[in-house]
Amino acid sequence: MAQLKSRMPYRLQVNGRDAEVDILARRPRLRVRIGPDVYAVAAARERGEKFSFAIDGVPYHGWRCIVGDEVHVRLNGRTHVVRLLRHDPQRAVAALQDEVRASMPGVVVAVHCESGQALAAGDRLLTLESMKLQMTLLASHEGTVAQVHVAPEAVFERGALLVSFTRQERRNP
């Protein structure tokens, strides 16, 4: 098929090395391509820690447990660590927020960042006071501060621009 370059395989890492998996067919057997090789798999969908299936007629059974993005698999007396690389929807959301605007009117209590500063997600930006409540705004994603538009004791309206970040580069597919 000419569309080989249009596949979207499962990307993962096995014991730290990159690998790709594709489903090729389901009948009469599930056929799966792992890396450069194609395997015929006899497996049922089963949840849980114990697994057993056959690849090319060779039976395998063992144990696995999920640790975050990783699956630790023990079979044939060895433990392997498989990490599934999934897309993180928060990345696209976070990348949008180049501007931090006030959601209600208030006054600036303290400024915790400055122009040119590189921040990680969760770093403090500003402390504001509105409606007798103080809140500290945190960076929602990593980025570089382009400019802080307010100073301590500044009064602002709803929608006012407080902090702007350097615009992220658009990713090429």
Binding site: M1, Y10, L12, V14, N15, A19, V21, I23, L24, A25, R26, R27, L30, V32, I34, G35, D37, Y39, V41, A43, R45, E46, R47, E49, F51, F53, I55, V58, Y60, G62, W63, R64, C65, I66, V67, V71, H72, V73, R74, L75, N76, G77, R78, T79, H80, V81, V82, L84
Partner: protein, 488 residues
């Protein structure tokens, strides 16, 4: 004899001691920090007392709290296990002052052997070979003494142990700086900046002898253990008997150990550690005045329960066997299962134990202190359990242990299990060609070898746990699944 024993420890050794306490018909009290509240040793005991501390490991070092806990729980004896307060002379004294029995030696012997300089001198005094050494506080005399022994030298902390505060010095030029650094480290780790230096033996073997004394000068030895396989100066594989050791040498080392222990009127269990040079000379290293981690291999080949002996001796019952009655049979090997990543310089790892399946069978013993679901944190030592195997020959014991390691399932946190299995199959290990640099020397050969078919199987096992992959693999309806890749 006392009725209730408080185990001032945690993890696998606490569980192991508790088992024998119960087997002896006694009651057991556990102590624990909040972080250990779900740990197995707490569940196994008849009563458990919580210790308060900001840092979890500090709880198990809190002498006053522990003694108060013993009182509150009605315990009349305290077993300190190993590490923590087991070699703390003032703790032993406090326990005695509180009217409780300390399951271990007397405080002065602990103090004597705890000071490495005094211990060496005592050994030399009683005909136990010691490595040529230099013990001088004045730097000039130290340098002269060092020249006399010859290089390379090993600089060690007087109040130290466990491989900390040690440095190898190969030339006289390096000596002053190394002394300074070692002293600073010793101060930091042990609160005592005194250092001494010994001849450094290349490719030494670490052989130790288990002894039991009744406190009245009667001492028996329970033969030797080989503990040469070490990483980060810590033992990870130990065995008994030591392979490729002549009867004469065995005899000489065991005798020396007994000589030392009797001279000290040693009471309870202890271990005399020696360094064995390739040329056959052996030198006293130190004496550990407590139960050792690797005691199970001795228990297997002599069919004894060392903790039971400890309790008996502490209760005033004396030794239960004579030297002639101790005849070792067969071979036992132990490996220490630690939460660490061998492929990253053995750096300690943390995580949650997802699955724990313990191998069972004849000649297999698993001393564990963790359970499935337990979170392993940096708060405590990284050793999770010990796996010990016994066989009529060394080859069989090694095979049994390697297979047991393969059958063991302990996943969710990285461990050295697979690494240990590779060690046990290494030809040099099987030939008994051991020394303390073995693991470093064979590091390349001990790297894992990935079999592509097994990697594929592991990949698939992981994917079959993923709901998205399963939906794609199993949920496609008919006739689409049967038609497969097709376009009109």
């Amino acid at each position: 004899m006392f009725k209730r024993v408080l185990v001032a420890n945690r993890g696998e050794i606490a569980c192991r001691i508790l088992r024998t306490v119960h087997a002896q018909g006694l009651q057991a009290v556990a102590v624990y920090h909040h972080e250990d509240r779900a740990a197995p040793h707490v569940q196994l005991a008849d009563a458990a007392v919580r210790l308060e501390a900001d840092v979890p490991s500090a709880a198990y070092l809190d002498q006053l709290q522990i003694i108060a806990a013993a009182r509150r729980a009605g315990a009349d004896a305290i077993h300190p296990g190993y590490g923590f307060l087991s070699e703390n002379a003032s703790f032993a004294e406090r326990v005695a002052d509180a009217g409780l029995t300390f399951v271990g030696p007397d405080a002065e012997v602990i103090r004597l052997m705890g000071d490495k300089v005094r211990a060496r001198a005592f050994a030399a005094q009683h005909g136990v070979p010691v490595a040529p050494s230099v013990v001088e506080s004045d730097p000039g005399r130290f340098a002269a003494g060092a020249q006399a022994i010859g290089f390379p030298l090993l600089v060690k902390a007087a109040a130290g142990g466990g491989g900390k505060g040690m440095r190898i010095v190969r030339t006289a030029a390096e000596l002053p700086e190394s002394l300074r650094v070692a002293a600073a480290e010793a101060q930091r780790y042990f609160g005592d900046g005194r250092v001494y230096a010994e001849r450094y033996i290349e490719q030494p073997r670490h052989i130790e002898v288990q002894v039991l004394g009744d406190g009245s000068g009667n001492v028996v030895h329970l033969f030797e253990r080989e503990c040469s396989l070490q990483r980060r100066y810590q033992k990870i594989v130990e065995e008994s008997p030591a392979p490729n050791l002549s009867a004469a040498l065995r005899h000489a080392m065991c005798d020396a150990a007994v000589r030392l222990a009797s001279a000290a009127r040693y009471r309870n269990a202890g271990t005399v550690e020696f360094v064995l040079a390739p040329g056959g000379e052996f030198y006293f290293l130190e004496m550990n005045t407590r139960l050792q981690v690797e005691h199970p291999v001795t228990e297997y080949v002599l069919n004894v329960d060392l903790v039971a002996e400890q309790l008996r001796i502490a209760g005033g019952g004396g030794l239960s066997f004579a030297q002639a009655g101790l005849v070792p049979r067969g071979h036992a090997i132990e490996c220490r299962i630690c939460a660490e990543e061998p492929e990253h310089e053995f750096r300690p790892a943390t995580g949650r134990i997802g699955v724990l399946e313990v191998p069972r069978g004849p000649g297999i013993r698993f001393d564990g202190g963790v359970r499935a679901g337990q979170t392993i944190t940096p708060a405590f030592d990284s050793m999770l359990a010990k796996l010990i195997a016994y066989g009529p020959s060394r080859a069989e014991a090694a095979r049994t242990l390697a297979e047991a390691l393969q059958r063991l399932v302990l996943i969710g946190v990285p461990t050295n299990v697979d690494y240990l299995a590779r060690v046990l199959r290494h030809p040099q290990f099987l030939a008994g060609q051991l020394h303390t640099g073995f693991l470093a020397q064979h590091a390349q050969e001990l790297l894992p070898n990935d079999v592509p078919a097994e990697l594929a199987a592991a990949t698939l096992a992981a994917l079959l746990a993923d709901p998205d992959f399963c939906a794609c693999a199993f949920d496609v309806p008919e006739p689409h699944a049967s038609i497969g890749q097709w376009r009109n």
